[in-house]
Symmetry: C2
Subunit: 350 residues, 2 copies
């Protein structure tokens, strides 16, 4: 679990106080901030001391193992080590911060640690401050990275943040489409978790709460206001807890294929896939479309139209590699159900 959780509007202003016990000698704290905030007020409010440094994270693409290695190697060269890594941004930035923290103390390349329980040493102190709600990256024990051969996280007991600061004020100015796609990541987590074979009462309690918060925000309320930001931030947290104790399913497995080949961003990719998952999640897919309609968001169609066999194969390989996701969604005999042909048909529909 994350060691310390602060929740509250304006809690970002307590950051200096929160970080100060974690400063080691004169070693700097590195703030990895989503480049979206370059020149925006948030960057100026970041409490820099001594050799502290802001690195604006380029999250045009989701984090790659090469980018993680580049940042951590630069930091090692410049400072030897650092007091901590603070991620401020959406899921990509948070995952990047977790991965860089781990690579400050683990030898080799982050690609060596894509998988389950491969990380050997705790990273340096790390904190996460989400500025978009939905991914659950703030509570997950993974950090999703695109490596040379796969899109897969560094899943380990050392991966969760030591501290998170949940300040709904930071999410207030998110672009509308982006907010919807990321929010739907949470909604889809709930559907996949609650309808999965890995479900248990712990995961269910969190998933049900997240689901009801998503419904309040995206279906019941007619206007977006502060309360929407408050609730969606809690939906993200509780949805993230739900999948941490169970697993995601078909939408994520297929969407990982899209983002590996086409670079489709995770939230958007999940939406594109969910739009066509009536066979697996009939009520979820229908409710998802209702949410898109109510929030005036159009889901792209036909993104696989021009792909060739080789490209379909690459996506199918990445997707079928996500074994625990398929097993959660379709049970132990999932390989008999989700054949390459059936999956190809699904990709073609997208």
């Amino acid at each position: 679990m994350v060691d310390y959780v602060i929740y509250g509007r304006g809690s970002f202003n307590q950051l200096d106080e929160i970080l100060s016990p974690h400063r080691k000698r004169d070693l700097p704290i590195i703030f990895l901030i989503d480049h979206f905030f370059k020149g925006k007020p948030l960057a100026n409010k970041t409490p820099l001391r001594g050799k502290d440094k802001i690195i604006f994270a380029d999250v045009t693409y989701e984090p790659k193992t090469t980018y993680v290695d580049e940042i951590s190697n630069q930091l090692k060269e410049e400072f030897g080590t650092v007091s901590g890594i603070i991620g401020v941004g959406g899921g990509s930035t948070l995952d990047l911060a977790k991965a860089v923290s781990l690579m400050m103390t683990n030898p080799g390349s982050s690609a060596d640690y894509q998988g389950w329980d491969l990380v050997k040493f705790p990273g340096v102190y790390k904190a996460g401050i989400p500025t978009l709600s939905g991914t659950g990256a703030e509570v997950s024990r993974t950090t999703v990275l695109t490596g040379p051969t796969r899109k897969l996280g560094m899943n380990s007991d050392f991966t969760p943040f030591n501290q998170i600061v949940l300040d709904p004020l930071l999410t207030a100015n998110a672009p509308l489409n982006q907010r919807f796609y990321t929010g739907m990541d949470c909604y889809i987590h709930c559907i996949e978790s609650l309808q999965g074979t890995y479900i248990n009462e712990f995961s269910k309690s969190y998933g049900e709460k997240a689901l009801s918060l998503c419904r309040e925000v995206f279906l019941e309320k007619d206007n977006w206001n502060d309360e929407s930001d408050d609730k969606l931030m809690m939906a993200s947290y509780t949805g993230g807890m739900s999948i941490a104790y169970s697993q995601v399913g078909v939408a994520h497995a297929v969407s990982y294929g899209l983002s590996f080949l086409l670079g489709t961003k995770h939230g958007l990719g999940n939406c594109i896939v969910m739009n066509h998952l009536d066979e697996y999640y009939p009520e979820g897919a229908a409710e998802f479309r209702k949410m898109a309609e109510k929030n005036g968001v159009e889901i792209p169609q036909g993104i696989c139209r021009e792909l060739n066999d080789e490209q379909f194969d690459a996506m199918i390989n990445v997707s079928l590699g996500m074994k625990p996701l398929w097993e959660n969604a379709l049970g132990r005999d999932w390989e008999k159900i989700m054949t390459r042909e059936k999956l190809r048909d699904l990709f073609e529909k997208l």
Copy 2:
């Protein structure tokens, strides 16, 4: 937050594996087990190695600072220090385990640390395994102790468990009345938290989930079964999280007075008080009585009938000392609302 959480039926069987990374040299692990389990199968299933030891905790009375000091001093004398303290039982045993862990490394008496953020050093490794659901002691950052002058917890960042094992199987054989009283502790947490002035969206999400689980278990279901144990264990956890991020209220403040003077157990005390709180929590008090009726449990009446002025004063002093609880319940001007006279009237009704 608790560092590691395991939830699942039968997860108690993984205890040996869970504890093994935390064994230091040949220092023993001490299992503090509720004396209710003396001679019962649970005690035999406890994974003892080397110099490990079971201490059956006498929880006839709720934990006293003298009892905490006695156990920790004995352990220091016998072993110098220990690898860890594992609490297995209801709220009293869990609180006792947390307090003993802290007193293995903090000098003096546990009475010196009753209050907020007085604990100086992290304790030895500690794990909690609830066998009754409702108190939320498994996730709280306090350990409620009766000291020479007050009933008050050692509230600190060092207080939460490092590990909890939530195994609903362990709660299956709880005595019916006990189960109800302890379950109502959770229900009352929710009412007090959700209707308190300290409420925020984080606490609210947890409180609402806990409340709906309590309703499922105590109102909607006609028979107690495995699912009831599963859900009540999650209600306890989520209810505990809710008050960890807000505060309890009138029922707890008054019930602390009862248990200080009369030794009334916490869950039962809360029930006795809630039965008469229609002025503060009208719907909560009514629903509470419905739950008692449906579950065939009678709430004692007239327990203060024979008390004298001095005794009433002692209870009133303890109760009014719980300032944050009153402020949460009645707002900043609570002292104008809850006068000594008004509180005396309330105690007399119980």
